[in-house]
Structure formats: structure tokens, C-alpha cells
């Protein structure tokens, strides 16, 4: 019998931007099993509903995660607006869509950079992060913040995108599109990059479905699932297709995310062209009473927000289920049989967001 050993991986590790701990059971260089243990980032922020009122909770939910911060604030606002039957003005819906897609773009660029760093291509990592800064510049121009924007409020948004800002956004989109086109061949065609990605960590469509994977991770395995098609915010008026790949490996995940950046550029262009001229926020009166359940598409996949309110300013319960939690099961499946050297890369391919998962 071959010798088995257990290697602890994390919580502090060079390729991991965030703390997650895995116990890897290995036989020679092959992984037999991976046992995740999480909880290093658990803060317990859902319990803050007892101490903060429902308006203040917008700021708390935005800090569930710094990368998908806008989406969390948005999902929570949608849930409370649903309970209170608030009709959000059309312009606010469009502005939310634009900011959401901008944050999806910066999140995907961040992931591409970390992936490049994961397979040891430092130059590419720097290129991706250099392009990402252009998106952050536009975000700080329009919202005032680089990673946490705080532009959402119950009933609408707090800031407007002026025509000058719209011009700046559209100029940024043109230059980002051009620069992304320059680096796409490196990710998709370079021989050494392909050797690290093609056929690594394959997850079949059936497996992905059974394990309940979400987002680009599931779409790379050929599952057509995208919550934006539910038509929340302005997505019902915008034209886009679900991007999938049938390979189910790391290469497919990279392909899906790169094309989603192009798709986001297209969606923002459409939204800027149709921007309606209405007010920014509806008037909110009273306290919420009832419960609501909202599904939205975060950069990492489907996120669910559940809010139950009892008519007082303090909510009964606020609950978030995040995409990384759904994808952890899929990650442990792809790790089985993988080489030890690929572990860091495979963890990165699900685009883990541990602080979302543990809250």
C-alpha cells in the first residue's frame, strides 16, 4: 500500500489572499481527499440586526465582502424594498445596474490577476491589476469610493451619473476593451498557460448540478444559470446571453470570466444609452413588516438574501447565502485526484470569497 499523509494547507499561504484551511490527504503527489475547515473570518454580522436599524444595516451588509460590496448592499435593499412595496425609480434601477456591472468587471479582472499569479505569471498579474485600476478610477469618480461605495439606500440610490461622468465611463470602457483584447491571447492561446489550465480540475455537468454549484464555476461546466435573467433592476430591458463553456476545466472557467467582462462592457453601454430621466430615490415611510427572499447574480454566482421584519426598526432576521459556500463542495470534488502542485490554482478557480462565506 502506498503511504498516505495529511498536509495542512493554509490559513496563511502565499497563493491565498484570504484565510481558508484545507486538510489534504495525499498519496505520493496525488490528492485523495480535501477536508475544508472555515471560520477564520467569521464575524457574526447577521446578529447586528439586533443593534442597528434597517437603514443602518445597508452599510453593514455592504461590508459582508469588499469585492462584491455593491451587490450585497443591492441585494439587501431589494429585499427590504420588496417587503415595503417600494417602487424604485427607473433611473435608480439603471444606475444600480451600471455600478453592479462595473463591480463585476473589477472583480473579474482581480480574479484574472490572481489566477496569473497562481500559475506564476507575475507580469500578467500586474497587467490585469493595472487595467483594473482604470475601472476603480471611474468608480471613485461616480461614487466617491474605490471598493466600498455606499451609494445604495432603501428606495433608490444616493448619487447620480452626470453626462460628463457617462462620457468618462464610456471612454474607460473603450480603452479597457482594447487592453483586455491584448491580454486575452495570453490566457487563451499561450502554450505554457494552457498546460496549467486545460484539463485541470474537470467537473462534469452532472457533478456540478448535483453539488449545486453556482455562477461562472457552474457555467464553465455547461449549466445555463444566470440570475440576471430573472430581470431584477434594469436587466429585463437589456439584451445579453448566458456565457457557458462545455470543457468544465480551469480553462473553461477562465474563458467564461473573460467573456463576462466583454459582456459587462456591452451591458453598461446599453444601460448608458437608455438611461431614463427620473428621480433618484423613492420616499420611504414607516418600518418594514413581512418577509422577502431575493436572488441576484454576484460576480461569483447566485447570492440569496432573506429578510424578515416585524414592523419595528430592527429586523427579526437577515440572512445571506453566498456563492462561494455553494462552490466549496464542487472545489473538494475537483481536488480529488489532482496534483499537489495544482491545489493553489484549483482553489483560485472557484474565485473563493471567504469573507462572504463566513460573514
Amino acid at each position: 500500500m502506498k503511504k498516505r499523509s495529511i498536509v495542512p494547507y493554509g490559513p496563511q499561504h502565499p497563493v491565498l489572499p484570504e484565510p481558508v484551511h484545507l486538510d489534504l490527504v495525499i498519496e505520493d503527489e496525488k490528492i485523495i481527499e480535501a477536508v475544508p475547515s472555515i471560520g477564520f473570518v467569521h464575524r457574526g454580522l447577521e446578529s447586528l440586526t439586533a443593534k442597528r436599524d434597517f437603514n443602518q444595516m445597508v452599510y453593514v451588509t455592504e461590508r459582508v465582502c469588499g469585492i462584491c460590496s455593491f451587490g450585497h448592499g443591492f441585494g439587501y435593499c431589494e429585499a427590504v424594498e420588496d417587503i415595503m412595496d417600494i417602487e424604485v425609480p427607473e433611473r435608480a434601477k439603471y444606475l444600480r445596474t451600471i455600478w453592479f456591472e462595473l463591480s463585476r468587471m473589477h472583480s473579474h479582472f482581480l480574479w484574472l490577476g490572481l489566477l496569473a499569479d497562481g500559475f506564476g505569471f507575475e507580469n500578467l498579474f500586474y497587467q490585469c491589476w493595472r487595467i483594473r485600476e482604470k475601472i476603480l478610477d471611474v468608480l471613485s469618480l461616480t461614487t466617491g469610493g474605490r471598493v466600498i461605495f455606499s451609494v445604495n439606500k432603501i428606495g433608490g440610490v444616493m448619487r447620480d451619473i452626470t453626462p460628463e461622468m457617462a462620457v468618462a465611463i464610456s471612454e474607460m470602457l473603450t480603452s479597457v476593451r482594447k487592453e483586455l483584447k491584448d491580454i486575452v491571447p495570453i490566457f487563451m492561446e499561450d502554450a505554457s498557460v494552457k498546460r496549467r489550465l486545460v484539463g485541470v480540475g474537470v467537473l462534469s455537468k452532472e457533478q456540478a448540478h448535483e453539488l449545486g454549484c453556482a455562477g461562472p464555476f457552474a457555467r464553465a461546466s455547461g449549466i445555463e444559470i444566470d440570475m440576471r435573467k430573472l430581470g431584477y433592476a434594469a436587466y429585463k430591458d437589456l439584451d445579453f446571453d448566458i456565457i457557458t463553456s462545455n470543457t468544465g476545466d480551469s480553462y473553461g472557467r477562465c474563458y467564461v470570466r473573460i467573456n463576462e467582462i466583454f459582456q459587462s462592457i456591452d451591458i453598461i453601454r446599453q444601460a448608458l444609452g437608455k438611461l431614463p430621466d427620473t428621480e433618484l430615490a423613492a420616499v420611504v415611510k414607516g418600518n418594514p413588516k413581512g418577509e422577502s427572499f431575493i436572488r441576484i447574480e454576484q460576480p461569483r454566482g447566485e447570492a440569496i438574501y432573506y429578510v424578515r421584519a416585524n414592523g419595528s426598526p430592527h429586523l427579526d432576521r437577515m440572512r445571506v447565502r453566498t456563492p462561494t459556500f455553494a462552490n466549496l463542495a464542487g472545489l473538494c470534488e475537483t481536488l480529488k485526484g489532482a496534483d499537489y502542485a495544482d491545489v493553489g490554482l484549483l482553489i483560485l478557480t472557484i474565485d473563493p470569497c471567504i469573507s462572504c462565506t463566513e460573514r
Binding site: Q12, V15, F40, V41, K51, V147, S355
Partner: protein
């Protein structure tokens, strides 16, 4: 800042932050902000690190990890707390699982507030940490010299 003798190596650890400060710390090391021009290098190994950049507050599970990382770093060492959560606990101060800022478990030399801390502020914090590191390095070398002469004499 003018008398840097050695290049301090930086170790980054995410305490229980929301990622906001983490990606800003990483953004500092990439071309646009380029903190590496001060001679610092990002490392993943605590045993080679001189400056610990830590984001996020301390919770009951990561307190031991942070302590261990600090103890594994060779002397002299400097700790910089990045973001308001690392300084005091920030927006999560009232959460049941947050014990408080990083200074609850290890001594902190530089506090960089902000939610999320801006790259400019982080770079300023790193430069201050470099200064403190130089000072400690000089003291450390003097102490070694003293011990040596005491032994010989």
C-alpha cells in the same frame, strides 16, 4: 526614509476583514501605486518577513493564527494595522465574535484608519513602518555589538 539599509520584506495576513482593505493592500503592490519602489517585497513566509501588514479585526479562531505569525517573524519586527477594523474592530465592533482590534493580541506600531483604507494611506503607513524598522534594526545591531564586547571582555 533616506537611510534604508536593507529592504524590509512584507507579510500580509487577512484577519477577519471584509476583503476591502486586502485588495487595497494588493493594489498598493501593483504598478499604479507601486509600493515596491521603497524596496519592500511581498512575501508569503513569516520567517522571512520584517513588516506584518494585517487587515481586519481579531476573532476567537484567528487570534492564535495571528499570534503564531507574529512569533514566527524574526526580530526586529514591525506591525501595521490596516483599516479601521484592524485598529479598533470598526463596524463589526459589536459583533459577538469580534474581540477587537489587532492590538488585543500583538503589539501594533502603525495604525492606518479608513474603511476601506485608501492606497495613499496604506503607502504612508508602510513608509512609517519602514522608518520604525530602520530604527529597531539600529538598536538591535547595537545590542548585539554590546553583547559581543561584554562576552569578549
Amino acid at each position: 526614509m533616506y537611510n534604508i539599509k536593507r529592504s524590509p520584506w512584507v507579510l500580509h495576513y487577512d484577519g477577519s476583514s471584509c476583503n476591502g482593505c486586502d485588495i487595497e493592500v494588493l493594489a498598493c503592490l501593483t504598478p499604479v501605486y507601486d509600493a515596491e519602489r521603497f524596496g519592500i517585497v511581498n512575501t508569503g513566509d513569516p520567517m522571512q518577513a520584517d513588516i506584518l501588514l494585517i487587515t481586519g479585526g481579531i476573532n476567537s479562531q484567528n487570534a492564535a493564527v495571528v499570534k503564531q505569525l507574529y512569533e514566527q517573524m524574526p526580530r526586529p519586527k514591525v506591525v501595521a494595522a490596516i483599516g479601521v477594523c484592524a485598529c479598533t474592530g470598526g463596524v463589526f465592533k459589536d459583533c459577538y465574535n469580534i474581540l477587537g482590534g489587532v492590538d488585543k493580541v500583538i503589539p501594533v506600531d502603525v495604525y492606518v484608519p479608513g474603511c476601506a483604507a485608501r492606497p495613499q494611506a496604506i503607502i504612508d503607513g508602510i513608509v512609517k513602518a519602514c522608518d520604525i524598522f530602520q530604527q529597531r534594526l539600529a538598536e538591535h545591531e547595537q545590542m548585539i555589538k554590546k553583547n559581543k564586547t561584554a562576552k569578549e571582555g
